[in-house]
Symmetry: C2
Subunit: 231 residues, 2 copies
């Protein structure tokens, strides 16, 4: 077993939301959650989980000026570098990865998942150190169907997993995988990693690590945050 | 187009939860939500959506005595019949269906989905009157993977739907479908309906129509309820 601190942790935090589905002029990653911009929560969790990590915050070019909102709300000691995103999530992550050294362990995280826990970050980091990759997943509690041309069919939910972030990888190998041209199936880093012929290692995610997509999700996040502070 | 009120609505409300995943001695369907037992919320929604409907509440035999908690918290004018459930959800629904007349339109609903809206109930009822079945679904916002023997593979989420309830059907046809012996793939009524050679018609569900599975879900439900009352 390798020591668990033998690679520098780099975090690529990708925030591409426009706010349109939130019914808000302000992009969702800057909306107020528990008294600070939504992005601050995950940045602080990575700082607490992996002290000394380097963080690349990838924002749409038009939103770089809004980053000031985030920087002002953070404790000063967090090392954070701003990078402009691209047309797709894939392009945005690729832009972020260009700043990451080859010998790092890189964790790519959705900016829209503010409730990521310190424990889950550390679990992903440690698993990826040992196995080259770590992707958090949670079981599916609802029935699922697959839509076909004229109909739909039930899927066996016990074989399905909901995929979360952070997704952690050996940086050199992930950067190599990202030299592949964009494909529509690239909804996360694991799918890019796999197309490069590599194995995805799954770890247990957390149900509370939700992605903020709708106004209801923001209500949930506020409620979960409040429950944490009480608990 | 048929008139929309030509079939009597019957509701089979199935509550089989033990509370184990909630960390509670009281089964989740009786937990307090917004000042009353969780089950009361969906019962009241069905009453408001389909005045004059008949409701069969299916509970584990051991929990029939707890039904008093629900009855006492309901307005008196709601017609409700108690039925003991079976070993599986399938068996519980089958027990409920035995009480439903053949010429009815039956809506089967998860007791663990208290936030069902009047609008969604009516949408399911009306669609099933016209088409014989109506199953509410919502899109998937997370990436999904399918677990295989030694690995996993990504699924194209644009083709996937999360299945909710109420699932509405022509009662005679659903009762006929439920004469089939139990199979492990019967996670909802739609899967039973299909095995009988019938087409499942999908309608738009609602993201807020969540299933209460964990203590976090109950926090979300409280938050969503509070937001509704303000909004």
């Amino acid at each position: 077993m390798k020591p668990i601190n033998d690679k520098q942790a780099w975090v690529v935090l990708v925030a591409g939301g426009s706010g349109s589905r939130m019914g808000s002029a302000l992009p969702k990653q800057f909306l107020n959650l528990g008294g600070k911009p939504l992005l601050c929560h995950s940045i602080e969790a990575f700082h607490a989980a992996l002290p000394g990590m380097h963080l690349i915050l990838v924002l749409p070019a038009m939103q770089l000026s809004l980053a000031q909102m985030v920087l002002q709300a953070l404790p000063g000691r967090i090392d954070l570098q701003l990078v402009a995103g691209g047309e797709t999530r894939f392009a945005s992550v690729a832009n972020g990865l260009r700043e990451v050294p080859d010998d790092a362990l890189v964790l790519v995280h959705d900016g829209a998942r503010p409730l990521i826990s310190v424990a889950l970050i550390q679990r992903c980091y440690e698993a990826a150190l040992l196995q080259g990759s770590a992707v958090p997943v949670v079981p599916v509690t609802d029935s699922m169907r697959e839509i076909q041309a004229e109909s739909s069919r039930p899927l066996a939910r016990e074989h399905l997993r909901i995929v979360q972030t952070p997704q952690a990888f050996d940086a050199a190998a992930l950067k190599a995988a990202f030299t592949h041209p964009y494909e529509a199936g690239f909804t996360d880093e694991a799918s890019v990693w796999e197309l490069a012929g590599r194995q995805v290692h799954l770890v247990a995610g957390e149900r509370s690590n939700i992605k903020i997509t709708t106004p209801e999700d923001l209500i949930l996040a506020e409620a979960l945050l409040a429950a944490r502070q009480v608990g």
